[in-house]
Amino acid sequence: MSIEQGLKEALARKSPPPGFTARVMDAIGRETRVPARPARRWWQWAAAAALLMAIGGGTTAHYIEQRREGERAKQQVLLALRITGAKLRGTREHVRAISRQEE
C-alpha cells in the first residue's frame, strides 16, 4: 500500500465523543441566557436615598440664596429711586423759589 493511500485511511474522519452536539448546544444556551439581575442590598438603597437627598438639599439651598440676592437687589433699586425722587423734588422747589424772586 502506498503511503498516500495509507494516510487516506489513517486520517479518515472520526466521530466526536457521544453527546458532543448536546454539549455545544448547552454551551450556546449558557452564553445566550440573560443573567438574572442581582437583588439590591439595603446599603445600596441607603446610598441612593442619601445621594438624592444631597442633590435635593443642594438645589433648595441654591434656590433660597438666589431669592435672597434678588430681594436685596430690588431693595437697592427702590432706595436709589427714592433718593433720586427726593433730589428731583428739592431741585424743583429751588427752581420755583428763584422764579418767584425774579417776578
Binding site: M1, L7, L11, K14, P16, I28
Partner: protein, 179 residues
C-alpha cells in the same frame, strides 16, 4: 475539485433556519459537520479531549458569526479555515509535538483499516510533523482537498503548500522506514 463548489447543498435549509434563530436547526448543522471539525483537530493534536474542546469552541464561534455565513459551501470553507487556524494557534502557543493518540479513537473510525497498526503508526507520525505540515497533510488526506483549496483555507501560496506537502511525505516515509 474545489471545496466551495463540490459540496452538496444539503444543509442550506438548516443554515437558513439557524440564521433565523432556530436552535434545532443549528444543532442539525453541528451534527452534520462535527466529524469534520473534530477530526481535523484530532489528527493535528492526537488528543481527543483537546480536539473536542477546540471543536466546541469552533461551533460557538460559528454561532456568533452565523450572520456572516452566506451558503452551505461558505459554511464548509469557514469551518475548515477557523478550525485549522485555531489548531495552528494552539500548537504555536503550547508548542505541542508528539502526543500519544487515544486508543479508543480506533474504534470510532467509520472505516476499518486493512492494517490497523499502519494506520495507528501513520497517525502518530503525523503528530510529529511541524505545525503547518500537520495541518496540510490533514486537509489533504482527511478532507481530500487539493493544493489550491488548502492554500485558500490556510492563506498560503500554492507553491508553499506543495513544497510543504512534499517535505511532509518525505519525512513520513523516512520515519516509517526507520521503524
Amino acid at each position: 475539485m474545489t471545496a466551495i463548489a463540490a459540496e452538496p447543498a444539503t444543509g442550506t435549509d438548516a443554515l437558513q433556519r439557524a440564521r433565523e434563530g432556530d436552535h434545532d436547526a443549528f444543532a442539525e448543522l453541528v451534527s452534520e459537520h462535527e466529524a469534520m471539525v473534530y477530526s481535523i483537530a484530532y489528527h493535528v493534536f492526537g488528543d481527543r479531549d483537546r480536539a473536542s474542546d477546540l471543536a466546541q469552541d469552533v461551533f460557538l464561534q460559528l454561532y456568533r458569526n452565523l450572520g456572516a455565513i452566506e451558503s452551505e459551501s461558505h459554511l464548509l470553507y469557514w469551518l475548515r479555515q477557523v478550525t485549522t487556524r485555531r489548531c495552528i494557534d494552539l500548537l504555536r502557543r503550547s508548542r505541542l509535538r508528539a502526543v500519544p493518540l487515544d486508543d479508543v479513537a480506533e474504534l470510532q473510525s467509520p472505516e476499518s483499516h486493512r492494517d490497523p497498526l499502519l494506520g495507528r503508526t501513520l497517525r502518530d507520525l503525523v503528530t510529529t510533523l511541524p505545525e503547518s505540515q500537520r495541518v496540510i497533510v490533514t486537509l489533504r488526506y482527511q478532507e481530500e482537498l487539493g493544493p489550491n483549496e488548502i492554500s485558500r483555507v490556510m492563506g498560503m501560496r500554492v507553491n508553499t503548500v506543495k513544497s510543504q506537502l512534499h517535505r511532509a511525505l518525505q519525512s513520513l516515509r523516512r520515519k516509517l522506514e526507520e521503524r
